[in-house]
Amino acid sequence: MKRVVLIGLAVVLVALGLVLGRAVVNSSGARAFPAQAAAGELPMAPGFDLETLDGDGRIALSEYAGRVVVVNFWASWCDPCKDEAPLLEELWRTEGEPNDVAFIGVDTQDLRSDARAFASTYRLTYPLVYDQGGGVARDWGVSAFPETFVLDRSGRAVAWFPGEITADGLRDAIAEAEARG
């Protein structure tokens, strides 16, 4: 009887340990990416393969290997994202497209219909993907909106912008990423 009790206890403790362990690893591991980027440790971006917001295809970050990439996380209900959207679009047209710098907007934790309306309202022309379920935002350690990462040609994060970007800040980060070769 003692053995049965001990086995029962062990099973319960192991199950609880697994669940708690998974939660701790998920939260601390993902959050480390922006922190490392902010500390200048040049962490490798987690990557993604997501459906476009329009639903007419998929975009994988790996397709942009060899290019500087600006990854912007946003949501339609986020007020700072509304303020930031026209500036991002302008920078895409002036700094991105002419210089082969990729811009990707990742819409996350959002109603897809709202996000499409947002993209239409702000006339966003750079590629937009839809992070259904928010898994990619979690992998990247995104905890507030907007957040923007600038990746160098090897996919390492040279800059992280929690909150709205500034034109000068993003230009400098793009220049730094390009300078890394």
């Binding site: 003692k2 049965v4 009790v5 029962g8 199950a15 379920g133 928010g134």
Partner: protein, 156 residues
């Protein structure tokens, strides 16, 4: 012509109540709000006033007024936000863990309590068995008589 118009009017009368019934809300906001999570603040929708929660609340109300069922609204939200938008996870995949762990904890706890009760009763039974010969001796009338006789002999 008049007959055709009358037929149309009759048809409109027949269709109107059916349409109105279809758009009638089929669930209460308070019920579904306690079963949904705010995806950005990790708290229940009825306890959150974040922008994301407000938008979801507006979406739910819009669909409720359009006559959607509670399940249809939940399905639409899960399609966009994933199963984490549900306060109670589905009993499949990783969601199954959330259901199994409390069951295992309760089951394990019951096992421990049952085990302790059995051990306690067994120990008590052993203690009673140890005490039994003393009581038997005390209850033995012949032994009492022999002791009394021995004491009397000593007195004499």
């Amino acid at each position: 012509m008049t007959r055709a118009l009358l037929l149309l009017a009759l048809l409109a009368l027949l269709i109107a109540p059916a349409g109105a019934a279809a758009a009638e809300p089929r669930f209460e906001m308070a019920d579904i709000e306690s079963e949904l999570m705010c995806p950005t603040c990790q708290s229940r929708l009825d306890m959150s006033s974040s922008p994301a929660a407000e938008r979801i609340r507006a979406f739910v109300e819009e669909k409720r007024q359009a006559g959607w069922t509670e399940q249809e609204v939940k399905d639409a939200l899960v399609a966009d936000f994933g199963p984490a938008v549900l306060a109670a996870p589905p009993a499949e995949g990783m969601g199954l863990v959330a259901w199994l762990v409390p069951m295992l904890a309760v089951g394990g706890g019951a096992l421990v309590v049952a085990g302790l009760v059995v051990l306690w009763r067994r120990r008590r039974a052993d203690d009673e068995a140890d005490d039994a010969p003393v009581e038997a001796v005390a209850a033995d009338g012949a032994m009492d008589a022999r002791i009394d006789a021995a004491l009397r002999a000593l007195d004499d």
